[in-house]
Every structure is written in C-alpha cells, then in structure tokens.
C-alpha cells in the first residue's frame, strides 16, 4: 500500500529554506543533540530535511568542550541559493569564524562582564566591611 500523504507533501513549498538546528532523535533520554540542517521553513523541527550540514553537541565533554562540526562548502552553497540561518546557528557560526561575530554574543558577553564586575566590587566591599 503506497502512502499517499508523502506524495501530497512532496512538491508544494510556499516557504523558504533555512539553516537551523534540529534535535537528533534521542527522544527518550535527557541528552539533547542537534544537527545543523538545511530544511524548508514550514517543516517540523525534527522532520525530513534537505541536507545535513553539521552537528552541535550542547553538553560539554570530558575536556569541557562543546563540539560543533559543519560542512563549509555545502553551507556556502545553500547560502548562495538563498537560505537563511537562524539566530543560534548564526551565533555558532560567528563564534566559529565562518560568519562575522553576532552582535548579541558581544552584548551578552558585555552584560556578563558588567554583572561580574558589579558583583566583584560588592564582595570586595563586604570583605572590607568585615
């Protein structure tokens, strides 16, 4: 029995192509893992994509690193074809050096630094008081 729904969903696409993170099928565990993927905009996050362009592991490994991989040739191809990266993908690729650094990374870093500097003088004052 041929499934007709797949035939119906195949060719129509009013949306555009995006490069985004899709959760990679480990549904039962508390262990997220993302694939950097080129997919149509209207598709569900985890459903059929056009091509996988890399991966991102959000949990740090033994050496306290978060591993990211991406296929630069194919990303260039898709960007040339008019794909839009999402914010997290843009941030990751900015940190990697493939794109320019995303402004929000810089601003978040500045905010963190401001908070840390705000906290540190308070501690210094408290210690001085004590």
């Amino acid at each position: 029995m041929v499934h007709l729904s797949s035939f119906l969903l195949k060719t129509y696409h009013g949306g555009h192509i995006v490069i985004r993170l899709a959760m990679a099928g480990h549904k039962q565990s508390n262990r997220p893992f993302y694939r950097i993927v080129a997919a149509y905009n209207k598709r569900a996050r985890d459903s059929k994509y056009i091509e996988q362009l890399g991966s991102y592991d959000p949990l740090p490994n033994i050496n306290n690193e978060k591993l990211v991989s991406f296929n630069s040739d194919r990303i260039k191809y898709w960007m040339g074809c008019g794909a839009h990266p999402t914010k997290p993908v843009a941030k990751l690729l900015g940190l990697a050096g493939f794109f320019p650094l995303h402004p929000m990374t810089v601003t978040e870093a500045e905010r963190c630094r401001a908070l840390a500097e705000g906290a540190a003088p308070e501690e210094v004052d408290k210690q001085q008081e004590l």
Binding site: K76, Y77, M79, G80, G82, F99, P100, P103, V106, T107
Partner: protein, 206 residues
C-alpha cells in the same frame, strides 16, 4: 464549565477537583475565556528594560552585521554560480567532452571491426552448413536408391518363389490327379506332447 472531554480519561484526572481544567498537556493550556490564576491576577506583563546606550551600540553593530552578511551571501552566490558555470562550460568540461567523444568514436570503430569479423565467421559457417546439407542430401538420395534396390530385389525374389510355387498349384488339369493323390495318402496330424516337450506322433491308426 471548564471541563473538556479528553481522548483518554485516566483515573487520576477523574479524581481531580471540580472546576479544574482537564486538558492534556498541550500548548496554550488555557483559552482566553478561562480565568487567570490567583497569583497572576494583578500582573502586568512588561518587556525587559532597554538600555538606550546599549541599544544604540547594538543597532550600529546590527547594521554592520547585516551589511557583512548581505555581502557574504552575494559572495557565496557568485561562487556557486561560477562553480556551476565552470562545471558545465569550463575547460575541464571541454576536455571531458572531448575525451568522451574520442572514446565513443574508438568504441564505434571497434564495434564495426567486430561486426566485420563476425560477418566473415558467419559466412564461413553458413557456407559449411550449406555444404553439409548438400552432402546430407546426396547421401540420403543414395540411401533411398539403395533401399529401393533392395526392396525391388526382395520383391523379385518373392515373385520367383511364388512362380516356383505356382508350378505345384492345383489347376483344372491337376485337379483329379491331386484328389486321387490326397485320397491315397491320408495324413495324420494327431500327436501327443508331454510337459517336458516330448512329442509322440504314433497314434491310433485309422
């Protein structure tokens, strides 16, 4: 009032207090007609505060970022188009096309040669077959003639035999004589035979 019939009603849900909203965990648990929770009644949602200095800086950064991204996109597009163009029309493509054409030509010539060779072989084979068929035909003819000869000979012999036998036939002239002879010589066809095969011809005389 707020009870919504679910697809499957587990026992725990049925024991829940009245007036509670019984819906499965779906986005937008409450509709706009459901009352707000007591802890949230006076809440006014405000967006996070914006630092104007930071906002200015951010805006600048974003314009720069957008500019760079647009430029990058155009670069990538150009690269992709160039690659595609090279694939189809570039020097490598021409060489490949040439090589393929040469291969095709050589293969065609080889095919021609093969055809000629096979033709020759076929000619020889067909000739041999024809000769063999002719030989077979002649042999068959000879055989037929021979069989005819033998047949004719046999039939001739039979005729001779019958002619010889015809001499001892009973005609109108021999009739009386023969009758006399038959009456004079009574033949006794009676005999006795044993299980061991011993024949006894001597029987009671007439």
């Amino acid at each position: 009032m707020f009870q919504v019939i679910t697809r499957s009603t587990p026992v725990i849900r049925l024991l829940a207090p009245r007036g509670a909203v019984l819906v499965e965990a779906v986005r937008g648990r409450k509709t706009r007609n459901d009352p707000k929770a007591k802890s949230k009644e006076g809440r006014i949602k405000t967006p996070p505060p914006v630092d104007p200095v930071e906002m200015v800086v951010l805006r600048e950064r974003f314009t720069e970022y957008d500019l760079i991204m647009r430029a990058l996109r155009l670069e990538f597009k150009e690269e992709m188009l160039r690659k595609r163009y090279e694939e189809e029309v570039g020097s490598l493509a021409e060489e490949r096309a040439k090589q393929e054409a040469e291969e095709h030509r050589s293969l065609m010539t080889w095919n021609q040669e093969e055809n000629l060779r096979m033709l020759k072989i076929r000619e020889l084979r067909v000739q041999k077959e024809v000769e063999a068929a002719e030989v077979k035909k002649t042999e068959a003819a000879i055989l037929r003639e021979q069989t005819m000869e033998i047949f004719v000979k046999e039939k001739g012999e039979e005729i001779m035999q019958i002619q010889e036998e015809a001499k001892s036939f009973i005609n109108m002239e021999n009739l009386d004589q023969r009758i006399e002879e038959a009456l004079d010589n009574p033949k006794n066809y009676n005999f006795a035979i044993d299980k061991d095969g011993r024949v006894v011809k001597r029987t009671v005389l007439q």
